[in-house]
Subunit: 387 residues, 2 copies
């Protein structure tokens, strides 16, 4: 019922993950089932591991979890935090709210730095909290708030603050790693988490986690980790190039191919491509007389484009028209931003073609609901970036 | 490097999961990425949900988790058990040991009923412990010990004991559901967990969990569940035919197709097929002058065939020859059974063909290491069952 008979209605997936997946990554999933305790798997694991270190720009250990990105963040929380331990968490959207909630459920004490949605935490704000809370031993930060389209540009400075104060620095980079700058070691990130289905252009179902030596010191002392997310167990099995529990084999094959594509393109070129596509989107948004949701230009994300819905426009109608008439999927707002913003994924295989198709679909759908648009002007505004 | 150029060396996967996956299930993974908050996903979810209820033989709620089977068991543990709560757990192999360990890590108190490996708990033994431990409010049981090839044939009686004593009954059915009898409602199972990659013949990466109304009462009161495994969140999203976090889409497509194949065959016929294949294996084992590891005939598993390694035979050499020369993968022992037993998966698409190929490979490999075997006798012993 899905896909097969409906190829004529194939959709361009421009939600902020899952994203469009290259054919070679899809077909990689067809490779045969193998014993996950045997030599073929060991070879597969080793290849993925090496290429993950490349995209994370790290010499730290890296792990592949059979779970969504949220599971990866959960893993970081329950390995790094014990009962009653304080963690500084800037909260500026749905995913940073979730992060604080996870810490609370784990028995930790999130010191929440509440910021208006659409803004990003500044290093100076974090520094102030660090001084006020000397017994907080960790900073947990969402680098790219998928719910607001905000990227924390002060991340390197915040990493330095963590380092100077001997605090652990955990970064949720689910919707950004591979699509914007994130040199894990250079920026002092102890645990970095991402997902397979965002900027790496792989299907969803795997979380990827890096762990620094400083993080290991803490993890070795953390008690009562849920077995499924126990990083010590993962380290033990990783020494044999295995996972503690049965891995999602087709997704491992897909990730291996997706990472090879990243290597072939080169990480820097890939990041530059994401940046240009984002600029093209923001130019077109401007030509559409719409405004980005993030309040400061420098914090606008290159991977999730969040846009205010113009007065009098029904965003869910716009998305429905985009989907049904123009075959492009974008997302609406989450949580308290439901109905107020639109969100476009600018991730993975995104190129001029996807940008222009999306701008065209958005412009036409807006026109269809009575919002005056000059489509050609909008497309030209986007095109300018690619010339 | 894997699979593509090596089709001539394709292996028959007879480990106790992952198992061989039908082509139509593999190709189902190629269906397009979709928005997991959109109508196409809702339709996919509904289909899977309906067919899961069929294979679980339940009217309870069922959920699909992006995790291995172990993650599903972890989910059961942290939703059903609070700090200091007692749980009766028969321990008779690696997976029941893990279950007790998970309970301990969760802060619960496992009342372990330690049994010799190769045996299964009896209803009378459980009843005794229930009487001695009146404040234990749950029984957690591994139905099929993948590590010893033992199936707990007293499961229905144990379910009745749980019911009569108003205790919760959780069953780890990872390596058996779909391959042997397991009417979840009829047998009073409150939470039943299985994995995608065993008897359902789907690739690994999904756990499947059923939840009874009695279990919900407890879950609603359980505090501090890890967010990723929170069944209340899953129930909330399931009402919209969604998952709380990004689902592993290709595996959902695969599971949908795999469940359709189960329906087409019919659950009863599928179980009967597993049983006959297991009988053929046990007949051949006998003709090979080898003995099953389970001590009592009635507890021999129909899905995992565990066999004692004959004196003087190096089992890892036998498996290596089977793999490299005869292209059949089987498993060795786990934990303290390492080197002492061989384990064969009898799961999913298993038929006369797979049984005979495996017996042939095993017989020849044994012969190659100097263990005298009459291959034709062994094959005939297996064939007899299918005539």
């Amino acid at each position: 019922m899905i896909g097969e008979a409906d190829l004529i209605d194939k959709k361009l997936v421009m939600v902020p993950g899952p994203t469009n997946v290259p054919d070679s990554v899809m077909y990689a999933m067809l490779q045969p089932m193998i014993d996950h305790r045997g030599a073929d798997f060991h070879a597969l694991y080793s290849e993925i591991e090496a290429n993950l270190k490349y995209v994370f720009q790290t010499e730290n250990d890296v792990f592949i979890l059979t779970s969504s990105g949220t599971g990866g963040v959960e893993c970081a929380v329950c390995n790094l935090i014990g009962e009653g331990e304080k963690v500084i968490v800037p909260v500026f959207g749905v995913f940073s709210e979730r992060l604080a909630e996870k810490i609370r459920r784990r028995g930790g004490v999130p010191i929440e730095v509440a910021l208006p949605w659409g803004t990003a935490p500044k290093a100076s704000e974090i520094e102030e909290v660090v001084e006020k809370e000397p017994d907080a031993k960790a900073i947990f930060l969402v680098y790219n708030e998928t719910s607001t389209g905000v990227t924390v540009r002060d991340l390197p400075q915040i990493g330095r603050i963590a380092d100077e104060n001997d605090m652990l620095f955990m970064v949720d980079a689910v919707s950004i790693l591979g699509g914007d700058h994130l040199p894990v070691d250079e920026w002092n990130i102890d645990v970095c988490v991402t997902g397979s289905q965002k900027c790496l252009a792989c299907p969803p179902g795997l979380a990827l986690v890096s762990v620094s030596p400083k993080a290991w010191e803490k993890i070795e002392k953390t008690e009562n980790k849920p077995m499924y997310f126990d990083l010590l167990k993962m380290r033990e099995y990783a020494s044999k190039k295995e996972t503690p529990f049965t891995p999602a084999l087709p997704l491992f094959y897909a990730l291996n191919e997706a990472l090879k594509l990243v290597r072939r393109e080169g990480l820097e070129r890939r990041i530059e491509r994401h940046k240009r596509c984002a600029e093209a989107f923001y130019n077109a948004i401007d030509a559409l007389r719409m405004t980005p949701f993030p309040m400061e230009k420098e914090n606008r994300s290159n991977t999730v484009i969040a846009v205010n819905v113009p007065d009098g426009v029904n965003e869910s109608k716009v998305r429905e028209i985009m989907r049904e008439k123009y075959n492009v999927l974008i997302a609406g707002g989450m949580g308290k931003l439901k109905g107020k913003i639109l969100r476009i994924g600018c991730m993975g295989v995104v190129s001029q073609m996807e940008v222009l198709m999306t701008v065209n679909a958005l412009g036409n759908a807006l026109k269809d609901v009575g919002y005056p648009v000059n489509i050609e002007d909008c497309l030209n505004a986007a095109r300018k970036i690619f010339q």
